[in-house]
C-alpha cells in the first residue's frame, strides 16, 4: 500500500494533476441536484465515449472507398469475429446518443438551467446538438448502401436550393459532379476527424463551464434569477446546503451511465447491426430510400409541404429554429426557472414532442407514397366483384391494370396516397367521377390520355358500385329533370334539393 502511494506521489509531482482533479470532484453542488433528473448530461458523455471507442474499432476494418465500403461492411458483419456486434454497438449508440442529447436538452430547458450565468453553456450545447446530428447524418452515409446513396441525393437536392450558391454547395458537398468516391471520402473525413475533433473540444468547454459555474440548482417556484444577485445566492446555497459532487451526486450518474451502456449493448446483441441494405448501385432503382429514425420526421415533413412552400421552409426553417435556440438564453436570461410557473415552456416541449412523434410515426408507413406493387399484388376484395355486370367487372380490371390501386385503397389494401374508394360512389356522381378520372386534380394525375373511352366508361361503372349496402350512390338531380325522370340513378332514394 505504501509503495502504491509512493508511486502515485512520484507521478503527481511530475503531472501536477491530483489537485485540479480533486477540486473538480469535490466541488460543492446543491444537495437537491443529486436527482435522477440530472443524469442525462453525463449519460450523453458516456455514450459519446462509447462511440469514440467503437468508431475507432470499426476504422480498423472499414474501407472508405465507394467501391469497397459496402464489401468491408459485409466483411465486418459476417467474417470478422464480433464485427457485427461492434457495428451494432456503434449504430445503437448513435440512436441512443441522439435521444439522450435531446432529453438532456429538454430537461435543461424545463429546469431553466440556460438562464444567467449559464447562457454560453446552453449555446455550446446547441452546437453540440448540431454536431450530434451531423455525426448521425455523416455516419448514415458511411454505411454506404442504397439508403446512404439516395440519402446523399436528398441532401444534395436540398442544398442545391440555396439561391445562387446552390450548385457550388452541391459540388463542394459531393466532392465532384456526382455522388461517388470523393463523396464518401469527404464524409469519412467529416465523420472521423472534423466533427469528432470539434465535438471533443466543445464537450470539454461545456464541461468546464458546468464545473466553473456550478450545476443548476433545483428550480423552486418563485425563486427568480436576477443578474445582480444570482451568483451570491448560488454561492450561499452551495455553502449552506451543498455537498461534494463526488460521491454525493455522482453515484446516480454512474448507475444511469452503466444502465444506458447496458441498454445499448442489449439492443446491439438482440437487434444486431443496421444494414447495410442493397449495394450503392444507382442503376438499381427498385428501392425506396428511407433515412434513419432521427431524420424520419423531416422525411415526413418534406412530403406534406406544398411545393411553393418547400424551398423557403427548407432554407429559412433551420435558420429560425437554430436562431431561436441560440437566442433563447439571451431573451429569457432572468426570472422564473421552475417549469411549474412556465406554462409556455411546458407547452412548447409538448408541442415539439407531439409534432416530432407524429411525423416520425407517419414516416413509418408513408401514406403519401404510392404502393408501387399494389396493382399486381393486392387483388380487389371479392365482395366488390360479386353480382356485378360484365362492364363493372371490366372496370375492376381497368382499376388494377391502370394502377389506380397503387394510390387508392379498397378495404384497407392498396396505397394511401389518394382517398380510399370504398364508398366513393356516395361522394361523387357519375359526371364527377368521369371528370376526376380524365382531368385529375386535387393532386391526382389526369388519366385522359391513358384511358380509352371504353376503359373510362368501364372504370366509372365499377366506381359507381362502390357504396355501402343500403346507401344509395350520389346522383345528379338535374338529370332527372333534363331526361324526364329516366335519368341515371333515377331509382335513388329521394331527390336531392340541389339545383
Amino acid at each position: 500500500m505504501r509503495l502504491i502511494a509512493q508511486i502515485g506521489e512520484w507521478f503527481d509531482r511530475r503531472l501536477q494533476l491530483a489537485a485540479p482533479i480533486r477540486e473538480v470532484a469535490e466541488h460543492p453542488v446543491p444537495k437537491n441536484t443529486a436527482s435522477w433528473w440530472y443524469v442525462f448530461g453525463s449519460a450523453a458523455l458516456v455514450v459519446f465515449l462509447l462511440q469514440l471507442v467503437t468508431g475507432i474499432m470499426l476504422a480498423f476494418i472499414y474501407v472508405p472507398s465507394a467501391s469497397e465500403a459496402w464489401n468491408s461492411l459485409q466483411n465486418l458483419n459476417h467474417d470478422v469475429t464480433l464485427g457485427w456486434f461492434i457495428r451494432a454497438l456503434h449504430g445503437w449508440g448513435s440512436n441512443f446518443m441522439v435521444a439522450i442529447v435531446l432529453i438532456h436538452m429538454m430537461q435543461v430547458f424545463l429546469f431553466g438551467a440556460y438562464k444567467f450565468p449559464r447562457e454560453l453553456t446552453w449555446v455550446v450545447g446547441v452546437f453540440l446538438l448540431l454536431m450530434t446530428m451531423g455525426m448521425a447524418f455523416t455516419g448514415q452515409v458511411l454505411r454506404f448502401d442504397q439508403d446512404a446513396y439516395w440519402g446523399l441525393g436528398i441532401g444534395a437536392s436540398i442544398a442545391s436550393r440555396v439561391p445562387v450558391l446552390g450548385p457550388a454547395i452541391v459540388k463542394l458537398m459531393l466532392g465532384g459532379p456526382i455522388i461517388a468516391g470523393a463523396t464518401l471520402s469527404r464524409f469519412f473525413a467529416l465523420h472521423v476527424f472534423v466533427i469528432p475533433g470539434m465535438l471533443i473540444a466543445f464537450v470539454g468547454l461545456h464541461l468546464l463551464m458546468v464545473v466553473k459555474l456550478g450545476i443548476n440548482e433545483w428550480p423552486m417556484p418563485g425563486r427568480l434569477v436576477k443578474r445582480a444577485t444570482y451568483e451570491n445566492e448560488y454561492h450561499v446555497l452551495t455553502q449552506k446546503d451543498g455537498a461534494p459532487f463526488v460521491p454525493y451526486a455522482v453515484w446516480k450518474d454512474l448507475f444511469f451511465a452503466a444502465f444506458i451502456v447496458l441498454a445499448v449493448a442489449a439492443c446491439a446483441a438482440y437487434f444486431g447491426p443496421f444494414g447495410p441494405t442493397g449495394q450503392p448501385d444507382p442503376t438499381v432503382i427498385q428501392t425506396a430510400p428511407r433515412p434513419d429514425y432521427f431524420f424520419l420526421w423531416l422525411y415526413a415533413v418534406l412530403s406534406f409541404l406544398p411545393p411553393s412552400m418547400e424551398t423557403p421552409a427548407l432554407l429559412i426553417g433551420p435558420v429560425i429554429v437554430i436562431g431561436a435556440l441560440l437566442l433563447l438564453p439571451f431573451l429569457s436570461g432572468e426570472g422564473e426557472k421552475s417549469w411549474r410557473r412556465r406554462p409556455i415552456a411546458v407547452l412548447t416541449i409538448l408541442l415539439v414532442a407531439v409534432t416530432l412523434a407524429t411525423f416520425t410515426h407517419l414516416a413509418g408507413y408513408t401514406p403519401w407514397s404510392p404502393h408501387m406493387n399494389a396493382w399486381s399484388s393486392d387483388p380487389i376484395p371479392a365482395r366488390f366483384l360479386q353480382h356485378r355486370t360484365a362492364l363493372e367487372r371490366q372496370g375492376a380490371l381497368v382499376f388494377q391494370a391502370k394502377q389506380c390501386h397503387n394510390c387508392h385503397a379498397l378495404e384497407g389494401k392498396g396505397g394511401q396516397r389518394g382517398p380510399a374508394l370504398d364508398s366513393v360512389a356516395v361522394q361523387l356522381t357519375q359526371d364527377q367521377l368521369i371528370r376526376q378520372v380524365i382531368q385529375g386534380g386535387g393532386n391526382m394525375p389526369a388519366y385522359g390520355k391513358n384511358l380509352s373511352p371504353a376503359e373510362t366508361t368501364a372504370l366509372v361503372a365499377f366506381l359507381q358500385t362502390l357504396h355501402p349496402a343500403g346507401q344509395a350512390p350520389a346522383r345528379d338531380a338535374s338529370r332527372a329533370v333534363a331526361f324526364g325522370g329516366s335519368g341515371e340513378n333515377s331509382s335513388a332514394v329521394r331527390p336531392s334539393s340541389r339545383p
Partner: protein, 180 residues
C-alpha cells in the same frame, strides 16, 4: 526609463515573428483554399459535362420508355458502381426522343416508369410525372430533368456528367418542361 514610443529589441523581434507567420499563412492560404474548392472550380464552364452514348436507336422501340444506363463521363479510381447512372429514354417516334434523369425533381430519389398508367412515380414522397416528364402530382415543383440529346450514326447520345438537382442551372439540364 523607456517612453511609450520606444520599442525594445525583444518586442520588435516578437512583432517580426508574428508578421513572418502571417506571411507564411497568407502564402499557404491560396493553395489550401484552391484545393478545398477544387470540386467547385473544376465544374465551372460545364467541364464535367460531355456526350455519352446510350446505345443504338434500334434498342429503343417507338412509343415506349426504357431504362438505359451509362458510365458517368467523369470518374475517379474509387468510384466503383456509383459512377454507373441510369436514365429513362422515351422514344416518341422516329428520331424524336426524350431522355429523363432518374432523379425525382423533388429530392432526387429514383423514379420508376409505369407503362400501364403512363406515369413516373417516386417512391420517396409520392411525386408523379406524365410520360412526357411534366409534373402530374405530388410535391415536385417542376417536371423531370431532361438531358440534352442527339442522334448520331444511329446512336442515342446525351450530354451528362452532373447529378441533376432542383437548383442546378437551367442551362445544364434543358428547359423547364411543358405544362401538363
Amino acid at each position: 526609463m523607456s517612453t511609450d514610443k520606444t520599442i525594445s529589441r525583444r518586442g520588435l523581434l516578437m512583432k517580426m515573428g508574428i508578421l513572418f507567420n502571417g506571411l507564411v499563412v497568407t502564402a499557404l492560404a491560396g493553395p489550401i483554399v484552391r484545393f478545398l474548392l477544387s470540386s467547385v472550380t473544376r465544374g465551372r464552364a460545364n467541364r464535367y459535362l460531355s456526350w455519352v452514348s446510350l446505345g443504338p436507336v434500334s434498342q429503343f422501340p417507338e412509343g415506349e420508355t426504357r431504362l438505359a444506363t451509362f458510365r458517368n463521363p467523369y470518374v475517379t479510381p474509387t468510384d466503383g458502381k456509383t459512377a454507373d447512372t441510369a436514365c429513362w429514354v422515351r422514344r416518341i417516334e422516329g428520331e424524336q426522343f426524350q431522355v429523363f434523369a432518374i432523379n425525382c425533381a423533388h429530392l432526387g430519389c429514383p423514379v420508376r416508369w409505369f407503362p400501364q398508367s403512363g406515369l413516373f412515380m417516386c417512391p420517396c414522397h409520392g411525386g408523379a410525372y406524365y410520360q412526357d416528364g411534366s409534373r402530374a402530382s405530388g410535391p415536385p415543383e417542376r417536371g423531370l430533368f431532361e438531358y440534352p440529346h442527339k442522334i448520331q450514326d444511329g446512336l442515342v447520345s446525351i450530354q451528362a456528367g452532373e447529378l441533376p438537382t432542383p437548383g442546378a442551372s437551367a442551362a445544364l439540364l434543358g428547359k423547364k418542361p411543358r405544362c401538363a
